[in-house]
């Protein structure tokens, strides 16, 4: 599972000559030198796409037991995903002591399973399921940059992305927004189009706007910097609405400038009696006042901790009056 650029012979044949030639070559290799064929498959540098494409031949020539653990588990997972009925294999792996090994295999599937120039629904389904297992079940965040690459690559070709976008956000990590935000400054038009669509809930991002991309990117960065510690996952997806809002801002956390849980939106650090009192008063306000105070609090704290401490100890009505005076028209 090394990331070295060294290419496996079977991968090379697949990439250079296509799937049919790969299968023909592999069949004659197994017939002439079964051990060598197995060695190629068990090579650390083999890409999952090749294993996936040869899965029927592996079964046909009855060489499954000669494969290494990576390949055997990957093929079992593939079979489970592509079968209509669930055999609870995933649950079995989840509770097994092989959990870290399975996680590495899923990452291998995802990192080496993306074939750029083909539409293969079964392969894509396997990739999407591996992605959601890593993000939703194993809570692996390291795979997010790979997933975002696959999403944008597929979108460029107008392939199906909804399940993969869902898997991506199911990581419940606001870092996903940052990864998408980076595409706002891409030189590819389709990248910018998708980034705008997925970030359409961020103030300053407009799906249909002609405003140049750098300005939208800077708007996004400013918003992200101001809010990322207070974002929690709301779960909206492309199945639910055209322009989902996957993350919401927890106004209580933003008002007290306390980091919140990305999963629940609850403030992570225990509050002092004074903070609890402030929060109780804050939560009794109407939504517009809460938005005003949370925005003002966040900006004030960044500019001067001293004055923020003075302000946050004012009575709540005085806090509102000060915020209105100082914020002017900026309420959003």
């Amino acid at each position: 599972m090394s990331n070295s650029k060294k290419i496996n012979t079977l991968d090379e044949i697949r990439i250079e000559n296509g799937i049919v030639k790969l299968k023909n070559h592999f069949q004659s290799l197994v017939k002439n030198n079964s051990k060598e064929a197995v060695n190629y498959l068990n090579d650390d540098h083999l890409q999952y796409v090749t294993l996936f494409e040869l899965r029927n031949e592996i079964e046909e020539f009855n060489i499954l037991t000669e494969l290494n653990t990576r390949n055997r588990i990957a093929l079992r997972i593939t079979k489970e995903i592509l079968s209509k009925e669930s055999n609870n294999l995933i649950a079995e792996y989840l509770s097994s002591h092989h959990i870290s090994k399975v996680c590495l295999i899923l990452k291998w599937i995802l990192e080496t399973g993306f074939a750029e120039n083909t539409v293969n629904n079964e392969l894509d389904k396997t990739i999407d399921t591996a992605a959601v297992l890593l993000t939703k079940v194993y809570r692996d965040k390291s795979i997010l940059p790979t997933i975002v690459n696959i999403i944008f690559n597929r979108f460029e070709k107008d392939y199906f992305i909804h399940d993969l976008v869902w898997a991506f956000f199911e990581s419940q990590d606001p870092y996903t927004l940052f990864l998408i935000g980076n595409r706002l400054k891409s030189n590819k038009k389709r990248d910018v189009q998708l980034a705008r669509k997925l970030l359409s809930f961020v103030p300053g991002i407009n799906v249909d706007s002609d405003i140049y991309d750098e300005k939208q990117y800077l708007s996004f960065l400013k918003w992200f910097e101001e809010n990322n510690l207070f974002l929690y996952y709301g779960g909206e997806s492309l199945q639910e609405t055209k322009n989902p809002i996957p993350f919401k801002i927890d106004l209580s956390g933003k008002y007290l400038c306390k980091v919140v849980s990305n999963e629940t939106g609850e403030i992570l650090i225990p509050l002092t009696p004074q903070e609890s009192k402030l929060l109780k008063q804050f939560n009794e306000l109407d939504e517009n006042s809460r938005i005003l105070l949370s925005n003002f609090s966040s900006i004030m704290r960044q500019s001067s901790m001293y004055w923020w401490n003075v302000w946050i100890n004012y009575p709540i009505l005085e806090q509102i009056r000060t915020a209105k005076t100082r914020m002017g028209g900026y309420y959003d």
Binding site: I81, V119, Y159, K242, N243
Partner: protein, 265 residues
């Protein structure tokens, strides 16, 4: 309450036009007794919404009866006589095909089609409109139809998603969320379903069921270690009734004007 040109509207003035226990009467009662303001430019605009909501419900029941199958996008299928299946699993209207004929074909040859729940709802919205506007207007409004989830929908249909809805109405598309879905079946991460107005919902792939039944069915496709039940959100997806009404009445006026202008033979 209902407000027409700034005045509170008394629903009793039109309620007799609809049969007792009809869905239109139910909608009128919800709108008029609500604390929210429902604003219309004319009584005709209000009646158009009532009519379209009724037809959305009828289109839901008829789609259920049509044999239209549930398939995930990767395995979606359509009648190639009218539609081209796209690489992302959507259905794109073929060139030279009448949009009205293509939408009607889904209801006539339902078994030739299969897709996920959101696309089914979009088909229902198109069919609801087709049922009440002249075919010529429908074909002029929607010359290009691309059926794929909530994407690519024609602006004239004006479908919008409303959060924190106080008065969900019959004919709305509601969403049942399934946060602990089995990762292997992302198609059951939730269910879009039309509120049929009688305590039942039509969700493609699930059928005509009560909210409790839909929740129970979604719960049966959760992961093994699930802790959270599926639930109905307080959101609604609706077409732009007032815009469609304006387009419809403008068309009717122009046709009447042309007919009156023609010399009698």
């Amino acid at each position: 309450m209902i407000r027409i040109v700034g005045m509170t509207f008394n629903p009793e003035t039109i309620i007799e036009e609809y049969p007792p226990r009809s869905v239109q009467r139910k909608i009128l009662k919800i709108l008029s007794s609500s604390d929210d303001n429902y604003i219309y430019d004319s009584v005709e605009q209000l009646k158009f919404e009532l009519n379209l909501r009724y037809n959305i419900i009828e289109a839901s029941k008829n789609l259920y009866k049509s044999g239209f199958a549930f398939e995930v996008f990767r395995e979606s299928r359509c009648n190639p006589k009218y539609w081209r299946r796209t690489d992302n699993g959507g259905f794109l209207l073929k060139e030279g095909v009448k949009p009205s004929s293509a939408i009607n074909d889904i209801y006539i040859n339902g078994s030739k089609y299969g897709t996920e729940c959101a696309t089914a709802i979009v088909i229902i919205f198109y069919k609801g409109v087709l049922n009440i506007v002249p075919e010529q207007l429908f074909n002029r409004l929607f010359p290009v139809i691309n059926l794929m989830n909530w994407n690519y929908i024609d602006d004239d249909l004006g479908i919008a998603y409303y959060r924190n809805v106080n008065d969900p109405l019959p004919g709305d598309c509601r969403y049942f969320k399934n946060p602990d879905v089995d990762p292997e079946t992302p198609q059951w991460q939730g269910e879009n379903a039309i509120d049929l107005g009688d305590g039942y919902y039509y969700g493609h792939g699930i059928g005509i069921k009560t909210a409790e039944d839909i929740v129970r069915i979604l719960n049966s496709v959760r992961r093994d270690d699930a802790t959270q039940s599926a639930y109905l959100l307080d959101s609604s997806t609706r077409p732009d009734f007032n815009h469609l009404s304006d387009v419809y009445y403008n068309y009717i006026s122009s046709v009447q004007f042309i007919n009156q202008s023609l010399p009698s033979v």
